[in-house]
């Protein structure tokens, strides 16, 4: 691996932690420092006006931070329209991943 990834125990991840990673990625990696980021912030088609590369970096940011895979076929308007929708989606995937780990 070129870069290491900080991993959390998936079962213990709170939604706020996911939101923090999303907010940090938007401000730092997407170079939108100062942009207002809350649950209602629209990621596509308004407010942030993120493009497909921005969304790819957001997905990668979550995946690296929490060691989870976000299925590409579930990424779309419903899961990425707003920051809140994306955080909910990612948090749900992280939680279900943690439950799967707990069962294994």
């Amino acid at each position: 691996m070129i870069e290491g990834s900080a991993r959390y125990h998936a079962a213990m991840v709170e939604r706020a932690a996911v939101f923090d990673v999303v907010e940090r990625t938007i401000h730092k990696d997407l170079k939108l420092a100062g942009a207002r980021v809350d649950d209602s912030t629209r990621m596509v088609g308004g407010d942030l006006e993120l493009d497909s590369l921005d969304l790819l970096m957001l997905v990668t940011g979550i995946e690296k931070a929490f060691g989870v895979k976000l299925p590409a076929n579930q990424l779309g308007p419903q899961t990425m329209a707003t920051v809140g929708a994306f955080v909910d989606f990612a948090h749900g995937r992280i939680a279900s991943n943690g439950q799967a780990e707990g069962r294994s």
Partner: protein, 150 residues
């Protein structure tokens, strides 16, 4: 993958001299590749960058890393490449250069695919000289563009 197959993938890129900055591909997998750029010291751009003190331009090291990343895309889309060769266009570069590279130098190149969605590919990349990292960062390629449309 054999060196001949790796060479074939490298040749499938549209870049040619004097804008080919990967001389050899050592390994290619679906997620990563390694290669090398041998900077001799007589390349024309070094005459101006800089007179009396040649330094390999960082943007060209980033370009070399992008070209090697294009080889990974070629490896992943080998079947499609045979039907209709596709070439990636650089969509994003975020690379830090830690040490100036003075010629002659063998610049070792490493790229690892972090994630792809549709036709976008995000890579973590690193370049080193004599085992010492000279550049590190990320870049993105958008596949499917021909040289004419890029």
């Amino acid at each position: 993958m054999s060196s001949a197959a790796a060479r074939k993938l490298l040749e499938s890129l549209p870049h040619r001299s004097p804008f080919r900055f990967v001389d050899d591909v050592h390994s290619v997998e679906a997620q990563a590749a390694t290669g090398v750029w041998h900077v001799r010291g007589d390349e024309p751009f070094l005459g101006g960058h800089f007179p009396g003190r040649p330094i390999v331009p960082g943007v060209l090291i980033a370009e070399a890393l992008a070209q090697l990343s294009g080889v990974v895309i070629g490896r992943r889309n080998e079947e499609a490449q045979r039907q209709s060769p596709q070439h990636g266009a650089l969509a994003m570069v975020d690379v830090r250069f830690s040490i100036p590279v003075e010629p002659p130098a063998a610049i070792d190149l490493v790229t690892e695919l972090e994630r792809d969605i549709d036709d976008l590919y995000l890579f973590a990349v690193m370049a080193a000289v004599d085992g010492q990292c000279v550049a590190r960062g990320r870049l993105a390629l958008k596949a499917g563009l021909t040289p004419e449309s890029a």
